[in-house]
């Protein structure tokens, strides 16, 4: 019975074990300064994964996040000069718009989210290519520092990126656990038909979930853009699968209704530790991706809570 009680904590146990293993192999891993840098580095991925969690929590998926982030890097770079920090509002607005679009196509036209979000992602890519003229754009350094310099500063040795991350995590955690929207989200994820029969406006809940996913992808895009001081229709490539992996490893299964944003924090940290481990353990660069995949399979096999998968495993 105690074993069963531990099940929801498997992802955390995996995280701690991995950390300890890496730490023993290379004590340098435990240095606080190094840790903080690692964590600050993972923040854009975390933000993207947090948004994705909502899409997966209702039993869908959002494959548009990477393209939305790409598009946002371009938008930020192009409009920074004109709007300064006000570009944040454009970023959030555009992210929300694309998320809502995905949600609308999924719920009203019955297109599976796997396809609808992928297609909406293509639309975002088009916008990015058009705005950027298919070139890599660069920000003016002074403009950037004036508007977003604060994003990469430090207070008492803590990077502001981390603070932003913590604030966002608290926000979505509150949204998920304390609000009526969060409750509706859980109902839709665990039993959509019952939610419908209880009179919930399920379509609206789903559209909102995709909207949040879009907004978070946009915020992640903004951070990429500021961090790399530019915009490009390919800047965020490679983050989509990692974001999905972070959500899944954290213990939010694709069937929905289980897990949540805190799980995703754990999943993102696991991804971070595995990737850092390969650097600390001096895994050859060409081998890293293979090792990452293998560890991933082992981690998922060990941690997923099969009792929540309801019988059949597809």
């Amino acid at each position: 019975m105690s074993f069963k009680f531990l099940k929801p904590y498997f992802p955390w146990i995996t995280l701690v074990m991995l950390t300890i293993i890496v730490g023993i192999a290379n004590p340098g891993f435990f240095s606080p300064a190094g840790m903080i840098i690692l964590m600050a580095d993972i923040v854009p991925l975390l933000i993207m994964a947090l948004g994705m969690t909502f899409a997966i929590y209702i039993g869908g998926i959002d494959l548009s996040v990477q393209q939305i982030a790409n598009m946002i890097t371009v938008i930020t770079t192009v409009y920074l000069a004109q709007f300064g920090i006000g570009v944040v509002f454009i970023v959030i607005g555009v992210g929300a718009l694309f998320g809502i679009l995905s949600g609308y196509v999924t719920t009203r036209f019955y297109v599976p989210s796997f396809v609808s979000t992928l297609a909406i992602g293509f639309v975002a890519l088009s916008v990015a290519k058009w705005l950027s003229g298919q070139r890599a754009l660069y920000m003016d350094a002074t403009l950037r520092d004036n508007s977003f310099g604060w994003m990469f500063g430090k207070t008492w040795g803590i990077p502001h990126e981390l603070i932003i991350a913590v604030v966002l995590v608290l926000l979505v955690w509150f949204l998920q656990t304390r609000t009526s929207f969060g409750r509706a989200l859980k109902a839709v994820g665990s039993g959509e038909l019952a939610a419908v029969a209880s009179g919930l406006n399920v379509n609206r809940v789903k559209i909102l979930a995709f909207c949040i996913s879009g907004i978070f992808a946009a915020i992640a895009g903004l951070m990429f853009s500021v961090k790399l001081s530019g915009g490009d229709a390919q800047l965020a490539n490679g983050f989509l699968l990692l974001a999905i992996v972070a959500v899944l490893v954290g213990g939010t299964p694709l069937t929905g209704g289980v897990g949540g944003v805190i799980n995703t924090v754990c999943g993102t940290l696991i991804v971070m530790v595995i990737r850092a481990a390969m650097v600390y353990l001096e895994v050859d660069a060409t081998q890293q991706q293979m090792v990452f995949g293998i560890i991933l399979i082992i981690a998922i096999t060990l941690t997923i809570d099969r009792s929540k998968l309801r019988g059949i495993v597809k």
Partner: protein, 347 residues
Amino acid sequence: MADFMTGGNSPLISTLRNIILKWAPLFVLASLVLLFPIFEWLEDFQRGKDHIYLIDSRFFSIRNASRIAVAATPGLMVAIGVTFIIIMGSIDLSMEGTVSVSAVIFAFVFIALGGTLASWAWLAIPVALVVGGIMGFINGVIHVMFRVPSFMVSLAMGFVGTGFALVLTGGDRIRVEDELFRSLLTVRWLNFPIMCYVALLALLVAWFIQSRTTLGRNFYAVGGGEELAIASGLNVSRVRIMGFTLAGIFFALGALMAVGRIGIAETATGNNFMFISITAVVVGGTALWGGIGGVLNTLVGVLIVNVINNGMVVIGLPNWLQDGVLGVLVITAVVLSTNRKTISFVK
């Protein structure tokens, strides 16, 4: 009484509706094929050139058809592989890794054994297929034995595959320059390169497996109701593992086509196969929740995606616009072939 009239007609209407839905992907394909020449015609008309619709079309020509066919072949093989998995209601995201590994190993073995099909190097072809099969088999075994959802296993296996290909090549490109092997692309029968015929043959084999063998029918049984299939005494685990293995073999076929087409095997050979192949399967009318559809649907789906891609180039749509248009058209195609009466909700 007017309601009674419509009520009385409804069986006929619903049959008609079902027929339309069943053939919707084909209608979409046909209208696309007729649509793109209109743009060309319009363009020439504006410039005052003589233009007979369809006859003078660059798009609607044998040469272009062959171009579309060549571009579609590797993707078709991959999409066929994943069709079997989707029919079972599962998903396989490992194709990019499997294609890369199969392509790279094929190239290595091919070159090591002599570098031309006329020598023992032909053995590289079965070796590549076996490699694909093994990748799929591992996928299936982990999925079934450890009860891990296929989405997660295959996603991670994709990383492993791409990673393994990278380890093998160290990031290098391997050229496969054998004339005989490249004749897949260079030699044409009736205007189409040999690889199109090979693909057609593979499609027939897949269709045969799907409709004429126990394994193929069992995919549908698993997708239609897995618990029921188990209760009927079906060894579902075995069906699943064999399904993933079969998918792996088709991914490897896709790898061979890709190498044949470009003449290069590298880690990136597998890039971009994942989403486009699954999209093609769905556009063709195979449902993601399993049990409905098949490889012929997939052929139509792959052709739709490739016709769109090709048509946009031919009519000179700006490059930046093409992705977006593809996205919108994919949604349209799926919407047209979805029977909204029979599904209660969609994830």
